[in-house]
């Protein structure tokens, strides 16, 4: 697409390491072969995914304009994957291991987002950077320019080891056991392109944390999570890691299981390799919905999984790379640019009134490092977005105040490490004109969101639109209160996903939301499920559960109501999670009951559009369907009843009745299946032994129930629950059953929406 694309290779010359240059030559050739029709769509799709070149919304060439679905007339009919048009804009994901960035890297990101994207670089919840609206023809030049700055996009997507994340304050954290940075870096480059990591059925995510209690690395939601630990061996303090495996979010969230309380530092890479081999050998390959390592760990049990890994470890051929990095660990320590010095605030601002903004910013965005006289400064980015000009400003500032020690965070921000305390006023003054000194870091105003319907193919509702709206309202509220928002509210976290896949990490938030849709009054209405009970701290210590769906346009009111109630009724020192537990989810749900109502389209059409989008909402090609009108069909009632049953199952679980909870969850699925059968045939059996096979024949075998992303997964969960008779062996299993039931009911809603839009009903 860019006229300069053919010239970058010679321009950059040997600034691109030879191995990377060769890899990119191969990639460029693969593009050429695809254009000649010599590579299959599916193969090319995985090829580009493994280079971080991802699809984007509307790349199938269809888009609803709010009235009808239109064909997007891209110049070429060629494809870059199944149902993915060559010319359709895509997303380029860029791996940033442990979030570490230097000034030239910030500058190249600035250049790339300006020249190839829409002028914005987006920081993700896994410390990556994403560029959107990229043409596939531009990707080799983009990758070469990144490679010249020491950045790779290799295995940023696809069934591979994704970006290795770590605490952004590793090394400067007051509570860390030790700095995990060198270990995160070592495993990232050891696993990159490793032959044992090329045959996974799904992605594999790694995280490193310096301590157990804080949230920075979210270890327990990762496939492989390592927490720094030490142990005395023969009178010597040895470094190692508490190792967790099999965690993950998405449609079946699961907390990681403890693999070993202490894996010595010299064993972390070979154990990682052995785990990769076991995963590649025994992990599911055909059904992507059960292919993450968490399913393998569950299937085998952690003891058997560990046995297999250790058995594999014992036969691994020795690799010097396992320990070669260890000799460099002592030198891997970052250095400051300047000698430590303490803050002399009066010299900067003689009177307190002059420094109000600084004080607010210092209160939220400045962290005192373990090294006296130094601070880490967070640059809070709205929705993780940063412009090219801002990136260059950060690069300049990182040269002036620190030794280019910048990191991205899982809260979609940047941090500057090793700022002397004396420099804080000057730094604040330099960040301010660039819009980079917004005092929201680590507060309820710093809302996290996945891309959602803005660019993601799987998004159901506008997570970014909602995040932007909440951020604006909360910042306005804070400003009108002269920045005196109560500490109890200020410290809460809001995380939003556009769908159940949880890229916004809604499970581990105080207030989590994920996008769903509901059929109301003959229209499809954007909603968000409200997720409560999640714990962000303790490395994602607990996952929340959905208590009910609220129309998207009423989420701001939902936030106000829940936080208001918390503020008014919390006991002294009571955390938000403890408060939710004390008042109970039934009460939380009841608190929101009136907010679930949707006015008619005539009364308030705004409910039928999403935040930041003027089009009438749709989850596909659905416009105003044949069933438009005020009639509420029996299936509407039936599915609402199913939701209630799932919720009641949660209440049973909360009260310790896990077996009852699992049974109720299963029954809700059964009733959902029955409702669909009735909708299609006006009749359905009551006997579960007849409902299940009928559902299988009519909805599963025909793929009518299939989700575009998860395919038949939700139905398979239902069949599995039926086989078990809705029984669960533990509270964790019951928790999972509830999650599965919730998503099955969501899938029933989606199926119902699709059937309503299609002429199925008329035929029936």
């Amino acid at each position: 697409m860019k006229a300069s694309n053919p010239f970058w290779k010679s321009q950059l010359g040997d600034r691109v390491p030879s191995q990377m240059s060769t890899e990119l030559d191969v990639y460029e050739n693969e593009i050429a072969l695809k254009k000649q029709g010599k590579i299959e769509d599916r193969v090319f799709a995985e090829t580009r995914l493994r280079r971080g070149a991802y699809g984007q919304r509307y790349d199938n060439g269809q888009r609803s304009d709010g009235q009808i679905t239109r064909k997007l007339q891209f110049p070429s009919e060629e494809t870059k994957g199944p149902n993915t048009l060559w010319d359709a804009p895509g997303m380029q994901r860029i791996k940033i291991p442990y979030g570490g960035l230097n000034a030239p890297q910030l500058e190249v990101l600035a250049d790339l987002c300006e020249e190839y994207s829409d002028g914005i670089a987006h920081i993700t919840t896994r410390q990556d950077v994403q560029l959107h609206f990229i043409h596939i023809d531009d990707t080799p030049a983009i990758m070469r320019r990144l490679a010249a700055a020491g950045i790779t996009t290799r295995e940023a997507c696809g069934n591979s080891v994704r970006n290795v994340t770590a605490c952004p304050i590793a090394g400067v954290c007051r509570e860390q056991v030790f700095d995990v940075t060198p270990y995160a870096k070592a495993i990232a480059y050891f696993m990159l392109g490793h032959p044992d990591c090329q045959a996974f059925g799904r992605k594999f995510k790694i995280a490193f944390s310096g301590c157990k209690d804080n949230a920075c690395a979210l270890v327990r939601l990762h496939d492989f999570g390592a927490i720094a630990a030490t142990r005395e061996v023969n009178g010597e303090l040895k470094r190692g890691f508490e190792l967790w495996v099999g965690g993950g979010l998405g449609p079946v969230p699961q907390q990681a299981r403890l693999f070993d309380e202490f894996v010595p530092e010299e064993e972390i890479l070979p154990i990682g390799q052995a785990i990769a081999r076991v995963f590649a050998r025994l992990g599911e390959k055909k059904n992507r919905n059960t292919a993450r390592i968490k399913f393998l760990v569950t299937k085998l049990g952690i003891a058997e999984f560990k046995r297999l890994v250790l058995e594999e470890r014992a036969i691994l051929p020795y690799d010097p790379a396992w320990t070669a990095f260890l000799k460099d660990v002592p030198q891997e320590v970052e250095e400051p640019l300047k000698a430590p010095s303490l803050l002399q605030i009066d010299a900067a601002w003689p009177t307190a009134s002059d420094r109000t903004g600084f004080d607010q910013w210092r209160g939220t965005n400045v962290y005192s490092q373990r090294q006296a006289g130094y601070a880490t400064v967070t640059i809070a980015l709205p929705l993780g977005d940063i412009t090219a000009a801002q990136l260059r400003a950060v690069a300049d500032i990182s040269r002036k105040y620190v030794k280019e020690t910048v990191r991205s965070t899982v809260e979609q921000n940047l941090v500057l490490r090793w700022v002397t305390e004396a420099d804080l006023p000057a730094l604040y003054e330099e960040l301010t004109p660039h819009g980079l000194a917004v005092a929201t870091a680590g507060t309820v105003m710093d809302v996290v969101s996945c891309p959602g319907t803005d660019t993601c193919k799987l998004g159901i509702a506008s997570s970014r639109g909602l995040a932007s709206e909440l951020r604006t309202r909360l910042m306005t509220q804070n400003a009108t209160q002269n920045a005196t928002m109560h500490e109890a509210i200020r410290g809460l976290r809001i995380k939003i996903s556009g769908c159940f896949n949880s890229c916004g990490q809604h499970h581990v938030s105080d207030l989590g939301f994920y996008g769903v849709s509901r059929n109301k009054n003959g229209y499809t209405v954007p909603h968000f499920q409200v997720v409560l009970g999640g714990e962000w701290t303790h490395n994602a210590g607990a996952y929340g559960l959905a208590i009910g769906a609220v129309p998207s346009k009423r989420i701001p009111e939902t936030v106000e109501r829940i936080t208001g109630r918390y503020l008014a009724q919390r006991t002294e020192g009571e955390s938000f999670q403890a408060f939710v537990k004390r008042i109970g989810k039934a009460e939380c749900k009841a608190m929101l009951d009136d907010l679930t109502q949707v006015p008619s389209h005539d009364q308030d059409p705004s409910f039928y559009t999403d935040w930041g989008d003027a089009r009438e909402f749709t989850i596909g090609d659905l416009g105003v369907g044949e069933c438009a009108g005020e009639v509420i069909t029996p299936i509407d009632f039936a599915l609402v009843a199913c939701e209630r049953e799932v919720f009641e199952a949660q209440l049973s679980l909360d009260s310790g009745q896990f077996e009852k909870a699992a049974t109720m969850a299963y029954e809700s699925m059964l009733h959902g299946a029955q409702a669909l059968l009735k909708f299609k045939f006006f009749f359905a059996p009551d006997d579960p032994e007849k409902i299940v096979p009928d559902f299988r024949t009519q909805f599963y075998d025909t793929e009518l129930f299939f989700d575009p992303f998860a395919r038949g997964k939700f139905a398979q969960d239902f069949f599995k629950a039926h086989e078990h008779g809705g029984r669960a062996a533990s509270p964790e299993a019951a928790h999972q059953s509830i999650e599965e039931a919730q998503l099955f009911i969501e899938a029933c809603y989606s199926c119902y929406a699709r059937m309503s839009a299609a002429p199925v009903k008329a035929m029936a």
Partner: protein, 176 residues
């Protein structure tokens, strides 16, 4: 040696006169309507909302061959035409195409219901960018190569070369 006729991806920004008079949110339905009614020469894809970004790209209309945006970079609101697809012809013809598309977009915006009487563009103040650092680095050599071409297209205008070497090549043309 820079050959002007090899230079592609010319961007044009025409500034708004009273940016405070409009609500940027109103641009969103306008741009969706532009997609629905195919009002531009380019194939239009989607609308991107960056109002939350300080001094950012504002609201963008993403197209295949070009993007249009009510852009707020450097805190200066204006209509930005960002040509993505390369064009045949000469530098002059490409500049003419980009300026023409930007000019037409300003006229369309001024005539849209939410902006009528509020949004006015200053057509005597135009920013010309080249969105490709390799073809046109922001240096004296590019300036010397492109200045005669730009001056010929904007006769009588004062031209000023702006920015630092890291920036895109940028010239501001002001009516004398």
């Amino acid at each position: 040696m820079i050959d002007p006729n090899q230079v592609q991806h010319i961007n044009i920004k025409i500034f708004a006169k009273e940016p405070a008079a409009i609500n940027l949110a109103d641009t969103i339905p306008v741009f969706h309507n532009w997609i629905r009614n195919s009002v531009c020469e380019e194939m239009l894809v989607d609308v991107a909302d960056y109002r939350h970004v300080p001094e950012g790209p504002g609201v963008m209309l993403i197209g295949h061959q070009a993007n249009y945006s009510l852009d707020n970079r450097e805190g200066r609101l204006g209509l930005l035409y960002n040509r993505k697809e390369a064009l045949p012809g000469t530098f002059r013809s490409r500049l003419n195409q980009a300026f023409g598309a930007a000019l037409r977009a300003t006229e369309l915006l001024e005539d849209e219901a939410p902006f009528r009487g509020k949004l006015k563009f200053n057509r005597g103040l135009t920013e010309i960018f080249v969105n490709d650092r390799l073809l046109a680095p922001n240096n004296e050599e590019t300036w010397h190569a492109l200045k005669p071409e730009i001056q010929e297209y904007f006769p009588g205008c004062h031209l000023e070369h702006h920015g630092e070497p890291r920036d895109l090549f940028r010239v501001i043309a002001t009516t004398r």
